[in-house]
């Protein structure tokens, strides 16, 4: 039945999308990043004037900074390794947004975590005042509640949660997004 297959297929495609993003980040780390950072060490044993070596090493470090920024936009390694809590804390610290984070340790798979993370990154970027973000796992669903945000930002959560088969509800107090795990 096409009507039943539609959402299921869309969900599978979306899950695959997040898995692929995580794999791409891993490839950047294991491939280009290793190659470039090993260059920094190889430069260090070259028989050349110190200033020249240091200038080249600075270039290498700048290339790695750019690579890290790209990787963070694809799938932050901390999200994969440590989960939403540490990844969001790092993001909030880096951007200086005033947000109280209360994130449970439970893991929920790369798709739900990736979707929730990138939706919240947009919410944090749009913050005009203090936010409170709570993340809990409810059975096989990741439940993300945002208080203090513009209700219009519900669309951002819906864009990420919808294709995975989740949904978003808006109340006077908060936006609540539900992201199916797996």
């Amino acid at each position: 039945m096409t009507t039943a297959d539609g959402p299921t297929r869309r969900r599978d495609v979306r899950r695959e999308h997040w898995t692929r993003r995580r794999q791409l980040e891993r490839r950047l780390h294991d491939g280009a990043a290793v190659r470039i950072s090993s260059l920094a060490l190889r430069l260090g044993v070259l028989d050349a004037p110190r200033e020249q070596i240091e200038a080249l090493q600075d270039e290498v470090a700048a290339a790695l900074d750019e690579l890290r920024a790209v990787a963070a936009g694809i799938y932050p390694p901390l999200l994969h390794e440590a989960g939403l809590g540490p990844a969001l804390a790092e993001r909030a610290r880096a951007t200086g947004v005033d947000v109280a984070l209360d994130v449970a340790d439970d893991r929920c798979g790369p798709a739900a975590e990736g979707a929730a993370y990138f939706a919240l990154v947009e919410v944090l970027a749009a913050a005009r005042g203090p936010l409170a973000v709570t993340v809990r796992r409810d059975g096989a669903t990741l439940v993300v509640a945002v208080a203090g945000a513009d209700p219009g930002l519900a669309a951002v959560l819906a864009d990420e949660a919808g294709p995975l088969g989740g949904d978003v509800a808006v109340t006077a107090a908060e936006i609540v997004g539900r992201f199916p795990c797996g």
Binding site: S38, A40, L41, R42, Q57, D105
Partner: protein
């Protein structure tokens, strides 16, 4: 110095061995993962073990390996080299140990001098933290959890940042162009504002101050 290393990237491993040997260190073991390193070091301790954080056993084999190594060889220094400088890992590293331990970016130890200085400081018992990480943590305090740091004066903030980089009082005095006595006064005031009282040893309070400070930047960990 006797050094062992575990790193899953073959190219980086080779580069590091080259640099360690150029610096005159004896590289006792070179392994692609944590479990192999533990086996290699079972009977022959080293001064410092250099560990990649993100290596087998996945996902963060360096940390798991370090915990085991610290339990079996408490005198072995631990240097974590990573592609990422994250406060999350810094806190986990300081939970493993607050002496003879370091965390640096892979591309920042690319000279014989820097690498040797890092290893020596660790072997002598210091904490060595990638300066960019320590600096980033003070420059952008999280407004909602910054209260404990907000209570510090600007000068005290400089001092605790340098403490977080693992500097000694003498080095902090040199860096800030103040007397050793002035540094001691600032540190006493930091201890006081962080609520660290004299029942702990000096070095313990120092580490607790650094941890308090880093945690205040990071938010709560459940």
């Amino acid at each position: 110095m006797r050094v062992a290393l575990a790193e899953d990237g073959a190219l980086f491993r080779q580069g590091l061995v080259m640099l360690l040997e150029a610096a005159g260190h004896e590289v006792v073991a070179v392994e692609p993962g944590g479990d192999e390193l533990l086996r290699a070091l079972a009977g022959r301790p080293v001064d410092v073990a250099v560990l990649d954080i993100r290596m087998p056993p996945e996902p963060d084999g360096g940390l798991v390996t370090a915990e085991r190594l610290r339990a079996s060889h408490p005198d072995t220094g631990l240097l974590f080299l990573s592609h990422y400088a994250e406060s999350h890992y810094l806190v986990r590293i300081l939970e493993i140990g607050t002496e003879r331990i370091g965390y640096r970016l892979k591309e920042k130890v690319g000279s014989v001098d820097v690498l040797s200085d890092t290893l020596t400081r660790i072997a002598e018992g210091e904490i060595v933290i990638e300066p960019v990480l320590a600096r980033r943590l003070v420059e952008k305090p999280r407004t909602d959890r910054a209260n404990v740091v907000a209570a510090l004066s600007e000068r005290e903030r400089d001092v605790v940042r340098l403490m977080a980089e693992g500097r000694s009082n003498g080095a902090i005095a040199g860096e800030l162009f103040v007397s050793g006595k002035a540094v001691e006064k600032h540190i006493a005031s930091i201890f006081d504002k962080f609520g660290l009282h004299a029942d702990a040893t000096e070095s313990n309070r120092r580490v607790l101050a650094v941890l308090t400070y880093l945690r205040s930047q990071q938010g709560e960990r459940s």
